[in-house]
């Protein structure tokens, strides 16, 4: 097992290297780069140096002197020492900006995950138990609508309803206008209030997958022999479902949820941008649009690491819960 994990981690590093190469190449090919914008800006100041001169100076300052290949290797050699450089747009070290914004994303995702589990698992099980009933259809349709909803559309509808028509919640932002005048409890409640719509959006659009997965697994379990045996023994239906079936259904479901744990840190780009929650998603969106290479590279690499971690955790969990999958 240890050897397997070690092998996977080493493999991940190789994969990350190639991923970073691809991403860096694409980032560098943005024609009007951040540096050019900056040089243009500086050259227009009164009494400034010419554009080409500024371009040369800035390129040197930002370490963009060489071509893509040398740029990539100088970038990756810095990464190897744990130095991700300074963000061009935010003018602070990338890691500092990251540590400032990551928790907003995390709490958003964490609340969503809890709501997802609380809603999806009971409904999924209910749906499986009453297969082909009206309840099952209703839950299935609800789940599929959630999957099919465009995030941006649903978020806008919610804004229209809760902010414009009812006036209960603010359209944008993480804190209200009088945030600074509130005491610490009031501040926490204010932030929570601003989280309501983003969390609802994220929950509705993501709950369907887990619900369907739970239903499928529950059906599989309910069709298996040991459930028939349990019933044949004359166990009450409640015991059959709650003890025998439910526990066995949880195995794959927990595995899947375990696999999504790293993505709690990944941020929700669209939702955060629409509600202007200053999490990692919104911050990266701004960085991408401005061509801030250090921050974007860091973010994309971070997402790649999270993806690899997610599959690794899921694979390990599979092996842990199901000895048949265990590979040497």
């Amino acid at each position: 097992m240890k050897r397997y994990i070690l092998k996977r981690i080493l493999l991940s590093i190789v994969i990350l290297f190639f991923v970073s190469m691809v991403i860096y190449g694409i980032m560098r090919s943005i024609p009007t780069s951040f540096v050019e914008h900056k040089a243009m800006e500086r050259a227009q100041l009164p009494g400034a140096k010419s554009y080409t001169e500024w371009l040369r100076i800035l390129n040197e300052q930002y370490g963009m002197g060489g071509n893509v290949v040398t740029g990539f290797f100088s970038w990756i050699s810095k990464i190897a020492t744990g130095n991700f450089g300074d963000s061009w747009k935010f003018t602070i070290p990338v890691t500092e900006k990251f540590s400032r914004v990551i928790w907003d994303s995390f709490w958003l995702a964490f609340t969503t995950l809890i709501l997802r589990v609380v809603i999806a698992i009971p409904l999924g099980i209910l749906s499986a138990r009453k297969q082909y009933s009206t309840t099952d259809y209703a839950i299935t349709i609800f789940a599929l609508i959630g999957i099919s909803l465009p995030t941006f559309f649903f978020a806008t509808l919610m804004k229209l309803f809760f902010s414009v028509h009812l006036g209960w919640l603010d359209l944008f932002g993480k804190v209200g206008r009088n945030y600074l005048t509130l005491d610490s409890l009031g501040q926490a409640l204010d932030v929570a209030k601003h989280y309501i719509m983003p969390v609802m959006t994220l929950t509705i659009v993501s709950v369907g997958d887990l619900m369907r997965y739970t239903r499928t697994n529950m059906l599989e379990v309910l069709n298996s022999d040991f459930i028939r045996t349990a019933r044949a023994k004359g166990l009450p239906e409640r015991t059959v479902i709650n003890k025998h079936a439910f526990r066995n259904t949880l195995i794959p479901v927990v595995t899947i949820i375990g696999g999504t744990l790293p993505s709690l840190f990944g941020g929700a780009m669209i939702t955060e941008t629409l509600f202007q929650i200053p999490g990692i998603g919104y911050t990266s969106y701004l960085a991408i649009l401005e061509g801030d290479i250090p921050f974007t590279m860091f973010y994309l690499m971070f997402i790649a690491v999270l993806t690899l971690m997610g599959t690794l955790i899921a694979d390990i969990l599979y092996a842990v819960v199901d000895p048949r999958v265990r590979i040497a």
Partner: protein, 584 residues
């Protein structure tokens, strides 16, 4: 459909109550269906799947047929007349002399400035360009300018002149008598009995007599109507105004009546009582060519100006009250009123012509939705086709050959899997923005990017299936019969993967449409003038549009939702139809 049909067969449930329909693959059925037919029948019996199929059918008809049927084109801009408070006229207080020339006369600008000098010096004659002009004050800010020609001249002593007429001129009979009269009285002009008037210029030894003729009027009043340049009318009219009270006067054969209003506006009516002209100190300039000021407009403006009002009401030609707004300046007054304006028909509410109104560019929303549907569906299908081709080929090769080929390709899959899609598409969108890529090319680039990034999912499924399939007996048989590798993969293995492939492809279609919509919503996907459902919703980035013009964006959102839902319903139905194990 009744799902009870698909209850497990005999062995699991030995007792089937009478009257309960048999499952499709029930052994007691007389006719056992072929596997393909079985799948089809199961699919058709699934209510959700059929709903999905109808939704997608509707979307296709809506987009591809609707675009043909609709009377409008994708980017037709509608324009309309609308009432708007617009600049109507500017009234300026006139402080300059304006000149009304008599028929066939000229009065050049040098002479005009000389005239003003003469007015300041209070002189009755002035010279310009070698000719002498007479200047006669008729009233306040109202002068008559006369042109002169030498009539007679002569020399004399002690006020006794002997005058010699100019060439070809015969002196009137009483000329000398009137001349001497004027000379004796020290006047500078005299009129003979036949109505000719003369200007006299005399020193002790020399005298010159000029014949006067009407040349121009200099006045600071502004007249409206056709007669404002008519010398005879202006002369008579202004003389009447100088009289300071309502009067009647005649010019030629016409008789006119003057009415002086309290605000100092003079109104002239003809014998039928029709207003033919108005005189005031304000110069009205209409903002649009061809504007005819309504009756009494000048008077109303002047009244409003002197009364320091900010608005006034006046009847227009149809007899309806019209409100005019007046803005005071130093000596300029701006008059606004509601005018019909030809403009782009933005955000017009739903009507018969535009069932879903028009958008911010004045284009028909329903038509844009139809064309947008074409783009969204087309992108979905092309991307999925591309993904499937790449996925089947690479996944098939990896699964069949195994070993290092599999290892290599799967690491490639891992790499692609780690590249986050949405940020990458945003970067590509930004690149295309900077390169100013044409809207049509953008769609192609987008499709290729999405296809290239999306294949690993399909490749994985195909590989997994093939890995297990190739160990089965039929493959050993295929190998033993000496069928070529290519044939073995694509004729014997891949067809067995098709059920999973179809399900995945259908579900992916929905995802692709969602991604495209998201990108277009962010303004980085399909761009104006091309429409896509996402870019139509993009209008909500303007909060005002979001709150007030629901018909612009809500239908597009529901179309996306329905289409994706339709594909998901179909995908779900197909999965159940292919693999009925899950049925209890």
């Amino acid at each position: 459909m009744d799902m009870q049909d698909n209850r497990p067969s005999l062995e699991e449930q030995p007792f089937v109550p009478a009257g309960e329909p048999l499952a499709l693959d029930d052994e007691r059925r007389l006719k056992v269906l072929s596997p393909g037919m079985l799948v089809f029948k199961r699919f058709v019996r699934n209510r959700l799947a059929i709903t999905g199929a109808f939704i997608i059918l509707f979307m296709f008809l809506f987009s591809f047929l609707g675009g043909v049927v609709t009377p409008y084109t994708e980017s037709k801009v509608f324009k309309d007349y609308e009432l708007m408070n617009k600049l109507y006229a500017v009234a300026t207080e006139n402080n300059e002399f304006r000149y009304i020339l008599a028929e066939n006369q000229t009065f050049d600008s040098t002479a005009k400035s000389k005239m003003i000098l003469a007015i300041l010096k209070n002189e009755s004659t002035f010279e310009s360009g070698g000719s002498v002009y007479g200047l006669e004050k008729e009233g306040k800010d109202f002068y008559r300018v006369t042109g002169t020609s030498l009539f007679a001249s002569g020399k004399g002593i002690k006020n006794q002149f002997k005058l010699q007429p100019a060439d070809g001129i015969v002196l009137p009979d009483d000329f000398m008598a009137k001349f001497n009269e004027a000379l004796a009285a020290g006047e500078t002009s005299f009129t003979t009995n036949d109505g000719q008037s003369f200007l006299l210029k005399a020193s002790k030894v020399e005298a010159e007599v000029y014949k006067q003729e009407d040349l121009a009027l200099a006045s600071k009043l502004i007249f409206t109507g056709d007669l404002d340049e008519n010398y005879a009318f202006r002369l008579a009219a202004e003389q009447a105004i100088q009289g300071g009270q309502d009067a009647k006067f005649s010019v030629g054969e016409q008789t006119y009546t003057l009415l002086l209003s309290e605000d100092g506006v003079a109104i002239f009516t003809d014998k039928d009582g029709m207003v033919i002209s108005q005189a005031s100190h304000f110069l009205m300039k209409a903002s649009q060519v061809g504007t005819v000021f309504p009756e009494g407009f000048a008077a109303a403006v002047q009244a409003a100006i002197t009364g320091k009002q900010t608005s006034f009401v006046l009847q227009d030609e149809t007899g309806e009250d019209r409100l005019y707004l007046l803005e005071h300046g130093t000596n300029e007054y701006v008059i606004r009123t509601e005018l019909e304006t030809y403009q782009i028909n933005m955000y017009s509410p739903p009507s018969w012509e535009h069932p879903l109104g028009t958008d911010g560019n004045g284009m028909d929303v329903l038509t844009r939705l139809m064309y947008g549907g074409r783009v969204s569906l087309l992108i979905g299908f092309v991307v999925v086709l591309l993904e499937t081709i790449l996925g089947v080929v690479l996944g098939g090769i990896a699964g069949y050959f195994g070993k290092w080929v599999d290892n290599l390709l799967m690491r490639l899959v891992d790499i692609f899997n780690c590249i986050p899609g949405l940020p990458l598409f945003i970067i590509i969108g930004a690149i295309m923005d900077a390169e100013k890529v044409k809207p049509t090319y953008r769609i192609f680039v987008l499709m290729i990017a999405m296809g290239v990034l999306g294949w690993p999912g399909i490749a994985r499924v195909v590989r997994g299936q093939i890995l297990s399939l190739r160990e089965q007996e039929f493959m050993t048989a295929a190998e033993a019969t000496g069928i070529s590798v290519k044939r073995r993969i694509f004729r014997h293995l891949v067809p067995n993967v098709i059920p999973q492939l179809v399900v995945i492809a259908t579900m992916t279609l929905g995802d692709v449409i969602l991604t495209e919509a998201t990108l277009s919503f962010l303004g980085l996907g399909v761009k104006y003038p091309l429409a896509s459902w996402g870019s139509i919703i993009n209008a909500v980035s303007n909060i005002y549009v979001m709150t007030n013009y629901w018909y612009v964006w809500i239908p597009a959102g529901f179309l996306i939702l329905l289409t994706v839902l339709g594909f998901n319903f179909i995908g779900d139905g197909l999965r159940d139809a292919f693999d009925p194990k899950m049925k209890r």
